[in-house]
Amino acid sequence: QASINSCSGIMSSQGSEHGGLVGPDAQYVRLISSDGHEFIIKKELALTSGTIKAMLSGPGQYAENENNEVNFREIPSHVLQKVCQYFTYKVRYTNSATEIPEFQIAPEVALELLMAANFLDC
């Protein structure tokens, strides 16, 4: 079981339908890792990834837009978790006047995270 991260904007999945998940104006999206872990994060943060952005804001209607959820068949949860943290970090510190801390990456995760990043274009 992956640990529950206390970063803001990430809630551990409880399978409940939060009001902000349904419909085209939904504020949240559901990202599902290859091992079934669901991450529900603010849509705005997820759009940091070019791939997710094209998926959700492009002109086409895909299965993903319909349900506001994306299944990442090749990204495991420990990686996806880190990715979500990165989204938060990125949005928080872009165009920020305060000092920017380093984004911590554990060496074990590094390689897989790199590949996910390449995939997600972020």
């Binding site: 070019g50 791939t51 094209a54 998926m55 492009g58 002109p59 086409g60 209607q61 895909y62 299965a63 993903e64 319909e66 994306v70 299944n71 990442f72 068949r73 090749e74 990715v83 990165y86 990125k90 984004f103 990456i105 060496p107 074990e108 590094a110 390689l111 897989e112 995270l113 790199l114 990043a117 390449n118 995939f119 997600l120 274009d121 972020c122």
Partner: protein, 797 residues
Amino acid sequence: YLDMSLANTLSAMSRQGGASSSTGTNRMRIRAFPTAMDEAYVDQTLTMLQTAIKEIQKKNNGGLSFEELYRNAYTMVLHKHGEKLYNALRDVVRQHLKDSIRKNVSASMDDRFLTTLNSAWSEHTTAMVMIRDIFMYMDRVYVEQQKCEPVYNLGIGIFRDEIVRQDRVSDHLKKVLLDMVADERAGITIKWDGIKTACAMLVALGIENKHVYEVDFEAPFLKDTAEYYKAASQKFLEENCASVYVQKVETCISDETDRAMRYLDKDTKNKLLQVLEDVLVSQHMQTVVDMENSGLKAMMRDDKVAELRSLYHLLRRVPNGLNVMTSCMSEYLRSIGEKLVDDVEGVGTDASDAAAAAAKKDPVKFIQELIDLKDRFDHFLKDAFDNDSNFKNKIQSDFEFFFNKNKRSPEFLSLYIDDKLKKGQKCLNDNEMESMLDRSMVLFRFLSEKDAFEKYYKQHVAKRLLLDKSVSDDAEKQMITKLKTECGCQFTQRLESMFKDKEIWSTLQSNFKEYSAAHPGVLQMEVSVRVLTAGIWPTQSAAPQCVLPDSCQDAFDHFKNYYTGAHNGRKITLNTLLGSADIKATFYGATPNADELSQQETEAGPSSRDPVPKRKEEHKILQVNTHTMILLMRFNIRPKFTFEQLKADTQIPERDLQRCLQSLSMGKPAQRILLRKGKGKEIEDQDEFSVNDLYTSKLTRIRIQNITNKSETEPERKETRNKIDEDRKHEVEAAIVRIMKARKSLQHNDLVVEVTEQLQSRFKPDPILIKMRIESLIEREYIKRSEDNHRIYQYQA
């Protein structure tokens, strides 16, 4: 980017070299790279992707998973199958367009054509965006590396090649679009957003540039437009007058601009305007400007300022448009100006004809009309031509041209000012005076012979001051200040000196009175004297020395004594030209036999007669000028004189004497002091003059006006002209010497140029005059010719 941070971390890791650490939990987990894909898997993936694309193109994308498609494309590229992927993509897109879309489009070559084509285009672009998103990784990596066409552009290119460039689609499209435009021009409402989409499509099809749009639509559109308006403009011209044509053109331009902004590509607007301006304006501007009864000249004549303004703004758009206008305006202005000049010179009529001479215009009126003309054109310049400098300069050069055509303009301008500054005219308040003087200065600037003006102005000022005719000293001084500002001190020095003299007169007069009181018994009459400094005041070249009556001569001597006593070392002489006198005259009335009596008298010489008075004697006071006074006093000695005798006795110059006698005997009946016996219009030597004892008048004090010409007579003019030429000779020489002194050595042409430049504010020196002056200076050894080069002069100290 995350992958950047990761790259840093990884390189940090590799620097650390090795991964394992003592604690077990820190083992780096490296997932094995996916194994190479085998042939079958590759083909399978490709097929899957192609199917997906087909679905997208058919708008069936709802059920597809972006992630899956994206991931597959990503994997393909990762495994170095980018090329296969790229080609497969291209093929499937092309296939779809070829098979379904082309058919649709060809099938609708009728009024559904535009809608069909536009919707095919819009669907295609939407699909391509989606496809591009899916293949984003390939775009980023493979396309970058191979430098081939990105996915989206690839799709556009395929559309262009498979649809637009097939089956005469582009021709048909062009026809449809142009027809729609023509309809709209004819007033039919069209669905113009169809055109807008089509144009946007054509622009997009060019990918890097707008070439497709330009070739397929823009160029034929512009050509069409040109032809349409060529025909339309002919029609407009035939049916309408100039101002309506201008309005129509403006409407067309604004309509077309509207159209361009509404549904054409933004760059087309300027090209369109270019075409319109060329066809509607440049081609026809000469015709419009020259149009009889409604063109530029007519507009000016009828003061149609608004029309002029529209015409100006229209013609300003095209190169050379304004030149056409200024040439025409110049023609018009010159013709008016020249007519005014001809009128005042009496050209075109027989000058010997008395009626024509009378029709010859009054100089003052001439100047006033010129001033009015300038005002009129200034008004045009401001209200219609936006103070455009082209027009301003043209007007100026035109005025200079015809104003200087009349050789007497300097004199006339001075006369005009004289008229305004003389007493007896309508009283001008300060503002009016100022504005009148300013306007005169405007004309003054146009004169090329400013030194001639100076001469005349001096003469006229002198007359005004001496005869006390000036309406106000302030006004005079104002004018002098203006001249000084314009031309510098040299111009106005003499004038200011004249004023200084004038200011002393009253002091002089009161001092003289005291002196007379101290020496009683000498003066038999009241005398008032004005002293003029010689050389300052313009006088005729030789002040005539007439024979004064004794009483007058005594009075003058008396004054002379006073003056030379008061001012040591000065000499004064009397100038009789501008003085005036009051004479007491007694008219004895006449007997019925007056004629017989007078005849007897000539035979028998003067004898006392016993007139039987039919009426009482009349006592009058006559105000006359000095010469008239002199000649009238002669009649105290004898009752009759011939012209010849009078000439000899008084020594008054002949011309002057004639004038005096004319006003006394041939003028208005109220002034006929003398009787003249003689034939012919002009006074001859043998004409006889006697006192008109029958003279009567209601007034006690009668002023005898001299018949003078306001302006100069021929001989006077010649004299003034000679003086001016003399002065010019001196000025040219002074300029030459000045220049040579500074330059030491100068070539002939350069010297001429410099001299002309220096003198241009006064007059335009003739190069021949300059050459003659140079020769004269060489003779007098001011300058010499250089030994090696005859064209070079050198200064001789």
